[in-house]
Each structure stands twice: as C-alpha cells, then as structure tokens.
C-alpha cells in the first residue's frame, strides 16, 4: 500500500526517511503511536492463551536498560574512582 500507511517493520531501509517525513509528530500523533506500539506488544506477548513470564520479564528488562541509560552520565566514572 502507500508508504504512509505501512507499519514500520514493512518499510525498507532506503524508504525510511520518506516514511519518517509522513509521520505525525504532534502530541496526539505520538500518543497514538505509543498506544499502537503498546497494543501490538501486549497482543503478541501477554494476551496469549498460554503466556508465561516472558511478556512481563521483557518489560522489566527494558525498564532496567532504560534506567541504566538515564543514569549513565552519573556512574560512568565509577570504575576508576578511588572512594565510592
């Protein structure tokens, strides 16, 4: 179909910048994109017939990674510090 309506996984690398230019970057647009992303994650990993710990564990691991990246500036100096 037309470029703007295709989901991200079906856009080829060369067309990526054109696809981004068709994106809606208003607050409602971003919120809608976040909602769609969450719904697809939920439908794929959590809302399944015999789901296990996978869905939640991936969320928590992602949260840990995110917190690491937010605090990186602070503890990048910890390795060679004399006193902690």
């Amino acid at each position: 179909g037309p470029l703007s309506e295709r989901p991200l996984m079906q856009v080829r690398l060369g067309e990526l910048h054109t696809w981004i230019s068709t994106c809606d970057f208003s607050p409602q647009g971003l919120l809608g994109a976040a909602q769609k992303a969450w719904n697809s994650y939920y439908a794929k990993y959590i809302n399944v017939r015999r789901g296990g710990h996978t869905g939640i564990s991936m969320l928590l691991a992602g949260y840990c990674l995110l917190s690491y990246s937010w605090n990186y500036q602070h503890f990048k100096r910890h390795r060679w510090r004399k006193y902690h």
Binding site: Y42, Y68, N71, H84
Partner: protein, 227 residues
C-alpha cells in the same frame, strides 16, 4: 570525599526533565485493564485474583460505610507494592524513598479519616482520646498523650515507609560495594559477604511487600476507628 552512596536517592532527571513521573507511572503498564472476555489471559487472571484477595482482606473489618474506601485503599496497596518491588531491580529508581511522596500520600488520607470521624460521629471520635478504665488523676496527661499520638500518625506513616526502603537500599549498596572491593583481595571473605547480600536481598523483597501492606493496613485501622 563525596558521599556518593546517597546519589541513588536523588530524583532522576535527564537534561533537566524530571523522570520521576515515568518511574511512578510505569506500574500502570504492568496491570492491563480487564477486557470483556469471560476467561482472560494469565496476567489478568492473576491480577484479578490478587486484587480480590487484598480487597477482601482490607474490607472485612470495615462496616458498609467504609466500603466506599475500597477503591482508594486497594489501588494504594497495588501502587506501593509495585513501586517497592520494582525498586529492587538494578539501576531503577524507587519513588517511595522520597519523604515528600510518602508524606503526600499519608497526610491527606489520614486527614480524611480524621475529618470523617469528626464530622459523622464527633463524640465517638473524641472518645478515642481516652482509653477505658484510666484512673481519674491520669486523665489530663493521657488526653495530651493520646492527642500527640493522633497528630503524629501521618508523620509516622510517611517516615516509616521512607526509612525502611532507604535503609534497605543503602545496605544493599554498601554490602555489594564491600563484595566487589574484597573480591581481588580476600575471595573467601568476599564469598561470605556475597551470601550476606543474597540473604539481604530476600529480606528486602519481604520488606518491600510488608511495608506497603502495613501502610495501607494502618490507614484502614484509622478508618475503622472513625467511620
């Protein structure tokens, strides 16, 4: 020497944007809202079971009028429980280590119970200030003491939660620092410290759950006296 052990309790910000809101809103992602199916997915089933359990526990001692508080007490319980447990993951930030947040939760809810009691049954509420069977000469002193203990309740609620969580996190950081520093020097002692760290982590998981439960339980007790 900087006291960098306390840096983990600084409110996180990225380029000046406070991130504490994200760490407070993240628990909502972990509890999806029920859909209209009869048999839902496993996460929703677990969530409903748990919610029923705590609501029943909290609401059993309350009269019918107190059941209006079911939503706020059970959501407060889930909120505190999730935030406390999430804080035990590496590199995460625990909003409940901030005294401002815990006092902001404790003070209005305690005040609400107090005002409910004073409005609906003023003499019964004031009657709690004097336990039955006190000797007459002791009455003035005891009323002062009971009033003080009544007024100190929100402070106690907030500080109890803050102090327990902050102390736990600080202990974990101290003992893990000791373990890593001792590893090249005395591996045997480092192993001992590691076993202490494992036991401490189990304790912290328990403390996280118990503190959330105690907070909400005490609020429901204050409500029971006043409703």
């Amino acid at each position: 020497m900087n006291l960098s052990f306390f840096d983990q309790f600084m409110s996180p910000s990225l380029l000046g944007i406070p991130l504490i809101l994200i760490s407070m809103l993240f628990p909502t992602l972990l509890y999806p809202s029920p859909n209209s199916r009869w048999i839902t997915n496993r996460l929703l089933t677990l969530q409903s079971w748990f919610l029923h359990l705590i609501t029943k526990q909290l609401m059993t001692p309350l009269t019918k009028k107190g059941h209006k508080w079911a939503l706020i007490l059970s959501s407060l319980m889930i909120f505190l429980l999730t935030i406390n447990l999430l804080g035990l993951l590496p590199y995460t930030f625990t909003p409940t280590t901030q005294l401002s947040m815990n006092l902001a939760l404790a003070f209005p809810l305690w005040l609400a119970t107090l005002l409910t009691g004073l409005r609906n049954q003023p003499s019964a509420s004031l009657g709690h200030l004097l336990p039955e069977g006190t000797p007459t000469p002791l009455i003035p002193a005891l009323i002062l003491i009971e009033t003080t203990s009544l007024l100190i309740r929100p402070l106690a609620l907030g500080v109890r939660l803050t102090a327990n969580l902050t102390a736990g996190h600080l202990l974990i950081q101290l003992i893990s620092t000791a373990t890593t520093v001792l590893l090249p020097i005395m591996p045997a002692v480092s192993l001992l410290t590691l076993s202490i760290l494992l036991l401490l982590t189990i304790l912290e998981v328990a403390v996280a759950m118990i503190q959330a439960y105690v907070f909400v339980l005490l609020l429901s007790l204050y409500l029971q006296e006043n409703i």
